[in-house]
């Protein structure tokens, strides 16, 4: 069983944190990953900065622009992650846009993921139908699981289909919106979480988009198996740099 699936299976109230590779500085990857790991983050999403991130709000867009200006690219991040592979245990999930993978070469992308010990990817603009017809076999041959998103608008039928082809977790988008910190979780969102929970899906459910602090994390964990914090962490890094990451993580799970 992959490391991430072991963690997904055994743990509850999973905390995942997202950061953009190359932000705030090109070589912050190691300190960010190790600080998050040592402070108890269960798995980490590594965002590949992209020029046109359709599903992302202003915070992640900005961090992507900075990272690209810092010179981050796929070769550099794969080299950084490969170098870290033996000194970390925390599972990494790679999040990037489809065009990056196509241009890099799909095989080569998968091979480099394998070299880095990455077993899970999130490609938000890779739709299920394209995944099934073009990528499922390729990913499987490299032991890579693809994470699918569901939203308040996703039909029950489609959720069941996603549950069926998923072998990692389902990314439960907490609201119909792009990424970004939004404050509290509304009663409408809770009703949606409850509806998903009642479906008794086989997959682990991780909430994301708009989860920003202890309160929104705890609320999400009442219904889901865990949650992902992205923009709030990017904002924190933007303000405080990489020295006090422990403080950020403790503000959520202590």
């Amino acid at each position: 069983m992959s490391r991430i699936n072991q963690i997904l299976k055994e743990n509850k109230n999973l905390l995942s944190v997202f950061f953009t590779a190359g932000f705030p500085r090109l070589n912050d990857t190691e300190i960010i990953i190790k600080s998050l790991e040592s402070n108890g983050v269960d798995f980490i999403e590594v965002g590949l900065p992209y020029s046109d991130p359709l599903a992302d709000g202003p915070t992640i867009q900005h961090s992507s622009s900075v990272a690209l200006a810092n010179g981050m690219n796929l070769d550099i991040i794969f080299n950084q992650l490969e170098g870290l592979k033996d000194s970390i245990k925390v599972p990494l999930v790679l999040m990037g846009y489809l065009n990056q993978m196509i241009k890099y070469g799909e095989e080569k992308f998968c091979q480099r993921c394998k070299d880095c010990g990455i077993e899970t990817v999130i490609i938000p603009d890779l739709p299920m139908i394209e995944y099934e017809s073009h990528y499922q076999q390729l990913f499987a041959s490299y032991n890579i699981s693809n994470v699918f998103l569901i939203t308040p608008q996703t039909s029950e039928e489609r959720i069941l289909k996603i549950d069926n082809i998923t072998n990692a977790f389902i990314y439960v988008v907490a609201s119909s919106s792009i990424t970004g910190a939004k404050g509290e979780i509304s009663s409408k969102q809770i009703a949606y979480f409850e509806r998903i929970k009642k479906m008794n899906l086989k997959s682990t459910l991780i909430a994301g988009f708009g989860i920003s602090d202890k309160s929104t994390f705890n609320t999400s964990c009442k219904y889901m198996d865990g949650a992902i914090i992205g923009s709030a962490f990017i904002n924190y890094l933007n303000k405080n740099g990489t020295d006090t990451i422990a403080k950020f993580v403790k503000s959520i799970i202590d």
Partner: protein
């Protein structure tokens, strides 16, 4: 070989709907309904009525005698520049606003580069009394103050896109992000044959009125509905798609798509996607686009704001790959020269975009008996400042 979209939304390897799950219901709703709506009697009747009586169709097919004499061929201009609001863009916005109404949408969003599609969208929203929000790059807002004012006068809200390079591609990104956040009441009115399926096909169908009219008019004027050649400029490619549409299967009609070469194809300041781009995904469809070796989208350049788009529609990517269309290009200077020439010898000031289509005439070996149709997609009022400042 079919040049029309297949049942999965593809033109050969190009097209599809590469959209985040967040947009799936919106795009699926449109995909499930667009053909039903477009083929319904009520839509057809209303669309035709508005095209005839509001837009001013059919637009003339004009035999440009002096231009013909100059280049030694028989050259017709399809006068889309005479459409209401000044360009072919309104054919599409009229059609899509009717689709939006059929779907019961209350809020219309659009992206715009130079502002032509924004104005055409604001116009139909005023006509239909629908809320209109136009995303426009912050850089373009400064460059196109008149069109911004027109949109506001028409009642639209213009929101600056401040992400990325702050131009057309970023305006499209912002519109898509807005749509993600407003999945139920909002209709995204795309301005070209780009975006996820079914947009490229829907926009091509709505613009196909151009080639339908060319066929009818050419038959009357020459006895033959097929010209030897059709020339149109391509940014995203909606006017070219419309001008080519009913000729796609007529193999003896040569199709020429003209891209903007900016300061020169390989100058680093260009928008000649067919030469500089390769396969990838942009704004929800697989196409060819200008990108670096890591797949980051490159900001294109052209003097013409309607042509500086880093991709081309998937239909055009396929026409290029299959060699059904020949892709040519024209630099800023060649387009300016062509615009000044048409103004002087035919008394028509073309849009800078359309001037690119005219600008390939001197590069071709033509024969007197050859019949050529150039799609004059828009008029040059919006470009007067550029024309004046470049006059020598």
């Amino acid at each position: 070989m079919s040049y029309f979209v297949d049942k999965n939304g593809y033109y050969g390897q190009f097209g599809g709907a590469f959209i985040p799950e967040l947009l799936y219901p919106n795009v699926k709703e449109l995909e499930d309904n667009y053909l039903k709506i477009l083929e319904s009697e009520s839509f057809k009747k209303e669309f035709k009525d508005l095209l005839d009586n509001y837009v001013g169709r059919p637009t003339p097919l004009y035999l440009a005698k002096r231009l013909s004499e100059k280049y030694g061929a028989t050259i017709y201009l399809k006068r889309e520049d005479l459409c209401h609001t000044g360009a072919h863009k309104i054919n599409n916005t009229i059609g899509q606003i009717l689709v939006a109404k059929h779907l019961g949408k209350k809020r219309i969003i659009a992206e715009t580069g130079a502002g032509q599609h924004g104005v055409a969208t604001a116009t139909v929203c005023a006509l239909m009394d629908l809320e209109c929000i136009v995303f426009m790059g912050e850089v373009d807002i400064k460059r196109q103050a008149t069109n911004v004012a027109r949109m506001k006068m028409l009642g639209a809200k213009v929101i600056p896109a401040i992400s990325g390079s702050k131009t057309l591609k970023d305006a499209a990104n912002e519109a898509i992000r807005d749509w993600i956040g407003n999945p139920e009441d909002t209709y995204y009115l795309i301005g070209s044959v780009v975006g996820p399926h079914p947009y490229p096909d829907m926009v091509a169908r709505l613009q196909s009125i151009i080639s339908k009219e060319i066929k009818e008019q050419l038959k009357i004027q020459t006895g033959n509905e097929n010209p030897d050649m059709i020339i149109a400029c391509v940014g995203g490619g909606s006017n070219a798609a419309g001008a080519f549409y009913h000729y796609l299967d007529e193999k003896n009609v040569k199709l020429i798509a003209v891209e903007a070469a900016g300061l020169g194809v390989y100058s680093g300041e260009s928008a000649a996607t067919s030469l500089l781009g390769d396969v990838g995904v942009l704004h929800g469809s697989k196409t060819i686009l200008m990108q670096d070796k890591y797949g980051q989208v490159i900001e294109p350049y052209s003097i013409s704001a309607g042509l500086d788009y880093p991709g081309i529609g998937p239909l055009h990517a396929f026409l290029n790959e299959s060699k059904r269309a020949e892709f040519m290009n024209a630099t800023d200077q060649e387009a300016l020269d062509a615009a000044y020439e048409l103004t002087k010898i035919e008394g028509i000031i073309p849009a800078l975009e359309s001037a690119h289509a005219l600008a390939v005439l001197p590069k071709m070996k033509l024969k007197k008996e050859q019949v050529i149709v150039i799609n004059l997609s828009g008029r040059g009022d919006k470009d007067l400042e550029t024309y004046i400042s470049n006059l020598k």
